[in-house]
């Protein structure tokens, strides 16, 4: 008995020893940050039914991401992001076997569907010399993976062993495989020999060739327009002549059928017209789909006896139509999905009985505009009463996908457009008119040079805020019905929001504090505006128009019919509602833009088109009489950087004069990276104090531009850096790095430039810091002019980067009092906050008269990155692309937003929270202590008076 009690106590003691260990205080997790994890638009999908209690869906996306989501809620169970440069060709799934084939069949991997762990990987790097035009894989009943590419046929066991490897190109005299059909252990392969213009077919049983033959191809033969129907006939569609060509494998020539023979009506084959076969069809029935157009499709049947074709069923709709099928024992159900953007209808067609099943028909209302359905994957099952039930996962044009139940309900929707962001920007929202006043007063107080006036305005702004909150509470009490809870709860008086424009044409506004989605829009015709240097980007500007602000998004149109120029979207930034009186399409393409400001507020945008003509947006804005604009454009293709000057002609037109040019030798150098300094940034200090107490003045040119070019000579890779003045075109500094490449856009702030190179010789990444100084006397003390004659002193220092840098940025605060940190984003999704002072160049001994050299904060050649500097702890950002920074309300903090496939937002405090009380600040304790002191002082004073009186009496 005693022994068991001892054991019990020991066990309790051991359990007590196990405590959670976190990298930051547990209660702080998610308090100042939010994280959105995405998959990407759906490409392949499978219903994982192995977990009876927790059913899942396995998704493979267009962005080479493999994931498992719960069937109940759509939440992520696991996610594996595969290499972006190795797109997933196909995914195979059966019971507990999940196989992915990537990179044109070069990489085959098996995954554990439950945990997402990689079980094995077979890579045949270097085996494939050319890109394979055809990839097909099959997991047969004997659990063998059959992988067919244009030139290779491979058999893998599910254990990860390569069983058979056939080089078809060698064996078949240059023929290229283009079709495969598998039924149990037998395979039929179709190969096309372009030399002899013939189709070779091979029949194999257990990987051994049984039979083969040759069929003479017809004139307009295209491999991608052919099908292998029922393991014995080839059906091809000739789009040019609108004819079907049919041949059984035993025949040597094709038989021709015109589409008119099918009584389809007037034939108008479009680009999207094609024939497709379903796996379920090919096993049991010689039927296939014929897609005539987006809203007219057919199921056709091939009669083996005479190779004739008949229509089994035609499907047509006024709206978009999608056909897909599933098999349940002996039932093949063909689903037809039609959508008019507001309603989604599903009809089920029984292929055996050749009749619709009315009981399975559903219509459901779509509560948002998602475009047409793109793909759908059904899952058929028997319900309790042996009646057929189904679930469908439908993906839409806007990148979202939803689970539709047979009950006519959408269980969940995953919005995946955010996985591919083209442009993002922080904006400041003001909800009410009072708040607009508050924000403007706050802005005035921030920019005021007089401290007394600034203090007064700050107090005044706080008074407006308090008044607004009281009115707000009053409104909730008196008129709760008209109070929009979601919006007002989400929006504080002055609130920062993030605007995202995605590649699929979706625009999101997300509250940067909480991560709450405020509104979103789907604009199918909007894509990124084509930039010549970087990937697609859009122009996002918040302009102050009367009476309310307007959010302007300018992007490229993907449909010339809709807009042959620039798509313009002007919305209310609070609600996402379109604002009237603004054009939706601009007739010109934009090559550069400049914001026009009045009293520190953006009031209009000057847009430079490809003909060097300035357009003002909105066109209702009247220009100041003597407006002058300096702009420059960079063209990566021609290597030309050109400066422009625009001055008003007296009316609303501009006179254009090209001012300067910088021309790269196009065949030797390629412009790869380009960065511009934020001219509105707050300066931390105008000078650097040296150890001998002298001052070195910073070169604070607000028009700095950095170009990074690379040598085109593969044998002599080289990076060239040019620092230019964007107004005068003056080349301020230039240097080169031999045996190097550069992949990360440089950052510019105050008087320094930081950039990254990949040292190919030493096989490492390096971080270089350049600092520019005017010298020990200041030249541009009051106002800056680019025409001043200044000799710039450049100090530099290089460091080894302990990681694979993807992107970087610099923190920015309201007034620039807080020292700057450099935020480095690495390939593993971590964000490091590095104090800029750690990477400052050493001051040369000649500049400082101090007997000892200037001490360096980082004496090692490697950047000191400790894991305490990771600002996103374990919430890594997959395929990190860019980091945005915006000042927060408090001077010590700034908002940091990083995005790739995921989005992560947090607050960074480069100098800790010096102007903020700690979260666990003991208000009660302080008040209690003060109260106790007060009581003690009162009691003490009365006692002392009493004692003094007594002493006097004595």
């Amino acid at each position: 008995m005693e022994l068991s009690v001892l054991r019990y106590h020991t066990l309790c003691f051991i359990i007590f020893l196990f405590t959670g260990v976190w990298a930051l205080y547990e209660e702080d997790i998610g308090k100042f940050d939010w994280h959105i994890r995405s998959i990407g638009p759906m490409k392949f999908s499978f219903f994982d039914q192995t977990h009876h209690t927790n059913r899942r869906v396995i998704i493979s996306s267009e962005l080479s991401v493999l994931a498992s989501v719960t069937l109940r809620s759509g939440d992520l169970v696991w996610r594996r992001s595969l290499e972006e440069y190795r797109p997933i060709d196909t995914v195979l799934y059966r019971e507990s076997t999940l196989i992915t084939v990537s990179d044109n069949g070069k990489v085959v991997r098996r995954w554990d569907p439950e945990s997402g762990h990689l079980q094995w990987e077979m890579s045949s790097e270097g085996e494939y010399e050319t890109n394979e035009s055809y990839i097909n894989a099959y997991l047969n009943e004997t659990n063998k993976i059959i992988l067919l590419t244009s030139t290779k046929l491979k058999y893998y066991s599910v254990g990860g062993h390569l069983l058979i490897h056939k080089d078809l190109n060698m064996e078949m005299d240059g023929a290229v495989a283009f079709k495969m059909s598998v039924l149990k252990s037998s395979i039929i392969l179709l190969l096309y020999n372009s030399n002899s213009k013939s189709v070779n077919w091979v029949s194999m049983l257990n990987s051994k060739v049984q039979e083969n033959g040759i069929i003479q191809a017809f004139d307009n033969f295209r491999e991608e327009h052919c099908l292998l129907v029922g393991m014995r006939s080839i059906v091809c569609l000739d789009k040019q002549t609108a004819k079907f060509y049919v041949a059984t494998l035993e025949q040597s020539e094709f038989i021709v059928y015109t589409l008119i023979d099918l009584h389809i009506g007037p034939i108008d084959l479009t680009e999207e017209s094609c024939i497709q076969i379903s796996d379920h069809f090919s096993k049991v029935t010689p039927r296939f789909y014929f897609i005539l157009s987006a809203n007219r499709q057919f199921i056709l049947e091939l009669e083996f006896s005479d190779n004739s074709i008949r229509i089994v069923q035609s499907f047509s709709s006024d709206n978009s139509l999608l056909l897909f099928d599933d098999i349940l024992e002996n039932n093949i159900i063909v689903f037809s999905l039609t959508s008019d953007f507001t309603n989604l209808s599903v009809r089920c067609y029984d292929l055996y009985n050749e009749a619709y099943i009315d009981s399975l028909e559903i219509t459901l209302a779509m509560n948002r505009f998602s475009g047409s359905p793109v793909r759908a994957v059904p899952y058929l099952f028997y319900k309790k009463g042996q009646s057929i039930g189904y679930r469908i996962i439908v993906s839409f044009q806007d990148g979202s996908f939803s689970l539709i139940q047979q009950t006519g309900r959408i269980s969940w929707t995953r919005d995946e457009a955010l996985s591919d962001i083209v442009s993002a920007k922080f904006i400041t929202l003001s909800t009410t008119e009072e708040n607009t006043i508050y924000s403007s007063v706050l802005l005035d107080s921030a920019t005021s040079t007089n401290p007394v006036e600034g203090f007064y305005r700050m107090i005044y702004s706080q008074a407006i805020y308090v008044r607004d909150r009281i009115l707000h509470i009053k409104q909730i009490i008196l008129e709760p019905s008209i109070y929009n809870e979601t919006l007002h709860e989400a929006i504080q008086p002055v609130q920062s929001a993030a605007i995202f424009v995605t590649r699929l044409g979706k625009v999101y506004c997300i509250d940067s504090k909480s991560g709450l989605f405020l509104w979103n829009l789907y604009l199918p015709h909007l894509t990124g505006y084509l930039s010549s240097i970087y990937e697609d980007t859009c122009i996002i500007k918040l302009i102050n128009t009367s009476p309310e602000s307007a959010l302007v998004i300018l992007g490229h149109s993907n449909s010339p019919d809709y807009c042959n120029g620039t798509v313009s979207i002007v919305v209310n930034p609070l609600t996402g509602e379109y604002m009237p009186n603004y054009p939706s399409c601009l007739s010109y393409n934009i090559s550069q833009s400049v914001q026009l400001e009045e009293d520190g507020k953006v009031v209009a945008i000057a847009l430079l088109d490809s003909d060097n003509t300035i357009h003002i947006f909105p066109d209702t804005y009247s220009l100041q009489p003597d407006t002058r604009l300096f702009m420059y454009t960079a063209d990566a293709q021609t290597g030309e950087i050109t400066g422009h000057h625009f001055s008003t002609n007296g009316d609303d037109t501009f006179k254009h004069v090209p001012t300067w040019s910088f021309i790269l030798p196009r065949l030797r150098e390629e412009l790869v990276l380009f960065s511009v300094k934020n001219s509105a940034e707050s300066i931390y200090a105008n000078a650097r104090v040296l150890s001998d107490r002298s001052v070195l003045y910073k070169y604070l040119n607000p028009h700095l531009t950095v170009l990074i070019t690379e040598s085109r000579n593969e044998r002599k890779p080289c990076v060239y850096l040019y620092v230019l003045d964007g107004v005068s075109g003056r080349l301020i500094h230039q240097l080169y790095h031999s045996n190097a490449r550069s992949t990360v856009p440089p950052i510019l702030a105050e008087n320094w430039i930081a950039y990254q190179i990949i040292n190919l010789k030493e096989k490492r990444q390096e971080f270089i810091m350049l600092e520019m100084y005017e010298g020990k006397t200041v030249n541009n003390a009051s106002t800056w002019t680019s025409f001043a004659n200044i000799n710039v002193l450049v100090l530099s220092r290089s460091f080894i980067l302990p990681g694979d840098l993807y992107t970087m940025t610099v923190t920015s605060t309201n007034r620039g009092i807080t020292p700057k940190d450099i935020i480095l984003g690495f390939g593993n999704g971590q964000l490091f906050s590095l104090p800029k002072s750690f990477v400052e160049p050493k001051i040369p001994h000649e500049l400082s008269k101090s007997p000892s050299p200037e001490p360096a904060k980082s004496p090692t050649p490697k950047i000191p990155l400790s894991y305490q500097r990771v600002i996103n702890y374990n919430k890594s950002i997959d395929r990190l692309r860019e980091i945005l920074v915006a000042p927060a309300e408090l001077e010590s903090t700034c908002s940091v937003l990083a995005y790739g496939i995921d989005i992560f937002h947090t607050q960074s405090s480069p100098s800790k929270s010096f102007d903020k009380l700690a979260e666990d600040f003991g208000y009660t304790l302080i008040i209690g202590v003060l109260a106790v002191f007060l009581v003690f002082s009162l009691v003490g004073s009365s006692i002392s008076v009493y004692r003094k009186t007594n002493q006097n009496w004595c």
């Binding site: 030309e640 050109t642 021309i663 003056r730 080349l731 080169y736 090692t860």
Partner: protein, 226 residues
């Protein structure tokens, strides 16, 4: 004779390879251009060259004066010297530079012309800068006297844009320092006070203890005798 001709042709080839000329043009509006002179550039070891200028025309000077009234610009240009294949496009046959006309007059028509070239001598950029800007209105009005000059005074700067190698991480310096520190440690220079002088301290301690014992012993003897 053949030998001399061969040598002459070689030297001519070398001369033309390493020397070339640029005709600089200038304008007051960026539309009508006039020749400003010819720059001869030698690219042998370091860039060098000279600039023979032609007098500025009265038309251009008066035009510049008018432009200076409205604070507009003085433009210069030089032809692109890349090979035909490398010439980016038809529109970019020249590289341009500019400065304020007003500044030019304020500096008595004295400017500096900087030509940036790449490693093969191709002109990347041209930068014109007046020697001194007009900071105040007085300086500007004083600049009016410059109109009487016939020629621009110019200082020519030829800059090789690819001559400064970027910094490298100071790995060798760090390793040297590291090795020196290691050697110091090995030599014992970096030892602490106790590590260095423990022998003397030990001797001192032993002497002190012995002295204590020796002093105590006679006193005890004395005690006994007493």
């Amino acid at each position: 004779m053949r030998y001399i001709l061969f040598l002459l042709s070689i030297s001519l080839y070398v001369y033309t390879y390493y020397c070339y000329t640029l005709e600089i043009s200038h304008s007051c509006d960026g539309v009508t251009w006039e020749s400003r002179g010819v720059v001869s550039i030698k690219t042998e070891k370091s860039l060098s060259g000279n600039f023979s200028q032609t007098p500025i025309s009265s038309r251009l000077l008066s035009c510049l004066w008018l432009k200076a009234q409205t604070d507009e610009f003085y433009h210069v240009r030089a032809p692109v010297t890349f090979s035909e294949k490398e010439s980016p496009s038809e529109t970019a046959q020249f590289v341009h530079g500019f400065t304020k006309s007003r500044h030019l007059f304020c500096s008595d028509l004295y400017d500096s012309l900087t030509i940036y070239t790449d490693s093969k001598g191709g002109v990347l950029s041209l930068f014109s800068e007046s020697k001194r800007g007009c900071v105040t209105g007085e300086e500007w009005s004083r600049g009016a006297k410059s109109q009487i000059k016939e020629k621009l005074s110019t200082s020519l700067h030829l800059v090789h844009a690819h001559q400064h190698p970027g910094p490298e991480p100071p790995v060798e310096e760090f390793l040297k320092e590291h090795i020196v520190e290691k050697e110091k440690k090995e030599r014992g220079e970096d030892k602490s006070f106790f590590q260095k002088y423990w022998q003397y301290l030990l001797i001192g301690f032993v002497v002190y203890t012995l002295m204590g014992v020796l002093v105590k012993a006679p006193s005890e003897e004395g005690g006994e005798s007493h």
